[in-house]
């Protein structure tokens, strides 16, 4: 077992490879931002960027699991669930600390239930995930409209607002919360039965079924988890912005998929991990912030965002040639 062979094997593991690239690109973008504007690389701005990334990162956590679970898994309903969660927490708690706990519990339960509906539609009724979660998005948007009558009320209780915008020892709470989530997800994926089976089932669902894995439980559960993470994101988002309006979550739908892919998780499932997504979320946030710093108009931002994404993707999602 020669050393060179091991190196080759390492490089062959494309997920690690692309993780390196993603880190490199994120650092490069930050450096570019610093070159244009010193303030961009100041510690406080960097921490702020991380804090913003944490929301995308959390939204993309469920997305990572769903994509890993295979079967063309994708969750486009996370945007709607985030919106609904922010609205629910804000209206139920009505800005009072005392009502925060019931608000959070209700929100999390609703998030999980909506995820369950997704999972059941996908697994039992065999609706393709893309379309199922999309259809659910419009249902959930409808629920938000009905619930708020078009005008979300209430605001974040002080405790939640502190969590969303406050700091401890100069580090935003959001970053700390995200770090905890990251640690847990990493551990679950690496060491628990759920995580290991998720990769295997994501690679080959039929083989998983035939070798005795409770695939239904696993897959449906994964969509429920995605609902859970979206609900968490919505709650924290409310803390971050203090008030909420309709469809705040929509901005996360496609970036969450992009973060997963940029982080080296294969859209076909079974390969990747959450650490990559964390880097992907940071990268996308830095890119967006950089374009804003450069005072680009909306049109130019859209174009550049798309081009950069295309270039990034062409670096590491290139499919092997068939021959």
């Amino acid at each position: 077992m020669a050393f060179t062979e091991r190196v080759k094997q390492r490089l062959g593991q494309s997920s690690r490879n692309s993780l390196g690239i993603a880190v490199g690109v994120a650092v490069l973008l930050t450096a570019v931002g610093g070159a244009f504007n010193r303030g961009f690389v100041s510690p406080s701005n960097l921490l702020n960027l991380l804090a913003i990334s944490s929301l995308l990162g959390l939204a993309a956590a469920g997305q990572t699991l769903v994509v890993l679970s295979g079967g063309e898994g994708i969750d486009l309903s996370i945007g709607a669930v985030i919106s609904l969660s922010a609205v629910l927490t804000s209206q139920i708690s009505n800005g009072q600390n005392g009502l925060l706990l019931p608000a959070v519990v209700v929100t999390l339960v609703v998030g999980v239930l909506l995820g369950l509906v997704n999972g059941l539609g996908i697994y039992l009724a065999q609706v393709p995930p893309l379309i199922m979660t999309l259809g659910m998005s419009s249902v959930i948007e409808g629920i938000v409209l009905v619930y708020t009558q078009g005008q979300p009320k209430g605001q974040a209780p002080p405790f939640l607002a502190a969590l969303g915008t406050g700091q401890v020892l100069g580090i935003p709470w959001l970053i700390i919360v995200w770090a905890m989530f990251t640690l847990i997800i990493w551990y679950v994926l690496k060491y628990l039965v759920y995580g290991r089976l998720l990769f295997l089932v994501g690679d080959n669902r039929s083989a998983g079924r035939m070798s005795g894995v409770p695939v239904a439980k696993l897959v449906v559960g994964t969509y429920a988890l995605s609902g859970f993470f979206s609900a968490c994101t919505g709650i924290l988002f409310l803390g971050y912005t203090n008030t909420t309006y309709l469809n705040i979550g929509d901005v996360y739908i496609l970036p969450s998929v992009a973060a997963v892919v940029v982080g080296g998780t294969a859209l076909s499932g079974g390969r990747g991990g959450y650490i990559g997504t964390v880097v992907g979320a940071i990268l996308l946030t830095v890119l967006d912030s950089l374009l804003t710093t450069l005072h680009m108009g909306e049109a130019t931002r859209g174009i550049i965002n798309g081009v950069v994404l295309l270039v990034l993707l062409s670096i590491y999602t290139r499919q092997p040639k068939d021959a």
Binding site: V193, L200, N204, A207, V213
Partner: protein, 508 residues
């Protein structure tokens, strides 16, 4: 004449084929032999243009073949029946048969009637009783392989390549294929025939080229070569070809019942009763497609069925394969790629899943000592690998099959149900697998094996049940001979057909 010169193929660090040369002479049938992973399919794929060689070239009638272009190969009269088939499951039988060579009418529209007619013609030649507009995905595997062959034949090739085309076929189908192939040969075509079955090779081939580890060992005239010599060329040592059954005998038989099924019934099964005891290997034979696959799947709850089931500590039908696994009933599918291995995951994980598949999801998966256990299994089964973290898709077919066995052993099963466990597996690996099955039985596991190969059933089973139209019509015990099983399969069919039914035994 088709000549291959110094073909070489590298996949990253793996050298699949290192400079192979051979030539196909019109009017002859040429065998290509070698153990699993020796590079036969790689060579075949390069002939068909599916894989581009790293080095080397192919000449067709003094003309150089443009490599890596299937269209060009077809144009030069090379038609290939691929081991993994090259069918489009969602398309109909007729459309598949003429895929890529559709006749077009005026204005460039595809002539659909002509396609149906040509398809019907070739289906007739293969004596396949399939409506031409059924999607291929709905056909049983052997019919799919026959179609794959038909797809090659429809091109009226000058060079026909058959890569393990017979592996999924039953005896009578193989006979039919041979008469067609010999007809082609007599018309002046050259045929390259890849197979692990020596009797087939000796039956129709003139010469044989043997590959070992991607290199050509030599080309021999078959009339002057014995099986032993060929095997020695293939694996570089002598092995015994004695069946393994005698090793254990019937001493443990009827110890305790491991699995008992009563009147299993669904659209494909007509009330099957079945018992498997500890330490016993029960075979399921019969003509192809008589419900064998459905029976195995019904037992583990993979398809809907009515009836009753009893295993140790459990009574009632299983809801799904996971439910069956919880009671120690494990299944090894005959469809290795689709329902067996996790190609992109490591050998370690592929084996370990046997342990953790039914554990609570929130438990820790990897525990101390399990590592050791996996390593032992890999050694015990002699799985050829370079690292436990290697992706399984990089292993040869035979070794992938062994990984499945290792997974099943790791799960400490009570009952193991196997569908065609040695399909496409080379002679020596096959012997190893048979020995393994016997030793599993020796350890008290009850085994149920369906196989398309009567020789295998005779060699490894204690009892063989013959199925016909979803029912068990015969039970063979005692001294099992392949010919008895074949005969019983046909007789079972005839006696069930009743008096007035025509018999087709003459075609055999």
């Amino acid at each position: 004449m088709l000549t291959i010169e110094g073909l070489r193929k590298e996949y990253g660090a793996v050298v699949a084929l290192q400079g192979a040369s051979l030539s196909l002479v019109p009017g002859t049938i040429h065998a290509l032999l070698g153990a699993n992973g020796s590079g036969k399919s790689t060579l075949v794929k390069m002939l068909g243009g599916v894989v581009r060689p790293t080095e080397g070239m192919i000449w067709v009638d003094e003309q150089r073949l443009e490599t890596g272009s299937p269209a060009h190969a077809i144009h030069q009269g090379i038609a290939v029946s691929y081991q993994e088939t090259s069918l489009v499951p969602s398309m109909s039988v007729a459309d598949n048969l003429l895929l890529g060579i559709e006749p077009t009418g005026k204005a460039g529209y595809v002539a659909r009637r002509a396609i149906r007619e040509r398809a019907a013609e070739i289906l007739d030649q293969l004596e396949l009783n399939i409506p031409p507009d059924v999607p291929v995905a709905e056909l049983p595997t052997n019919a799919q392989h026959l179609l794959e062959i038909g797809k090659a034949l429809v091109k009226r090739p000058k060079y026909l390549v058959l890569d393990e085309a017979t592996a999924a076929l039953r005896r009578e189908e193989v006979k039919r294929l041979f008469s067609i192939v010999c007809g082609l040969r007599d018309e002046g075509a050259a045929i390259l025939f890849v197979s692990h079955r020596f009797d087939e090779v000796y039956a129709i081939c003139d010469r044989a080229t043997v590959l070992r580890n991607g290199a050509v060992v030599g080309t021999r005239s078959l009339s002057k070569t014995s099986r032993e010599e060929l095997i020695q060329d293939m694996i570089g040592q002598r092995i015994s070809l004695e069946p393994v059954r005698q090793e254990t005998g019937n001493s443990i038989k009827k110890q305790s019942l491991r699995l008992k099924a009563r009147s299993l019934t669904n659209s494909e099964l007509g009330g099957v009763d079945l018992e498997v005891s500890a330490g016993e290997i029960v075979g399921i034979g019969g003509l192809q497609g008589q419900g064998q696959t459905a029976l195995l799947r019904a037992l583990i709850g993979a398809i809907l069925v009515r009836g009753d089931l009893e295993t140790e500590g459990h009574r009632g039908l299983f809801r799904n394969p996971s439910h069956a696994a919880e009671s120690g009933v494990r299944f090894i599918s005959g469809d290795r790629g689709r329902e067996g291995v996790f190609g992109q995951r490591s050998i370690y994980e592929n084996i370990m899943i046997g342990r953790i598949a039914t554990s609570p999801l929130w438990q820790r998966a990897w525990q101390r000592g399990k590592n050791r256990a996996v390593r032992d299994l890999v050694e015990q089964l002699k799985i050829v690998h370079h690292s436990l973290t290697q992706e399984v898709r990089g292993l040869s077919g035979g070794n992938q099959q062994k990984v499945l066995f290792a997974r099943t052993l790791a799960s400490r099963p009570n009952v193991v149900i196997l569908d065609d466990p040695t399909k496409g597996v080379d002679v020596s690996t096959r012997m190893e697998i048979h020995r393994l099955l016997r030793s599993m039985a020796g350890a008290g596991v009850g085994l149920l094996i369906a196989s398309s190969d009567d020789e295998e059933l005779a060699g490894v089973c204690d009892r063989v049940l013959i199925m016909y139209e979803g029912r068990i019509v015969r039970e063979l015990t005692g001294d099992l001979q392949p010919s008895h099983i074949t005969k019983a399969s046909i007789e079972g069919a005839q006696s069930e057909k009743g008096k007035g039914a025509e018999t087709r035994a003459d075609s055999l």
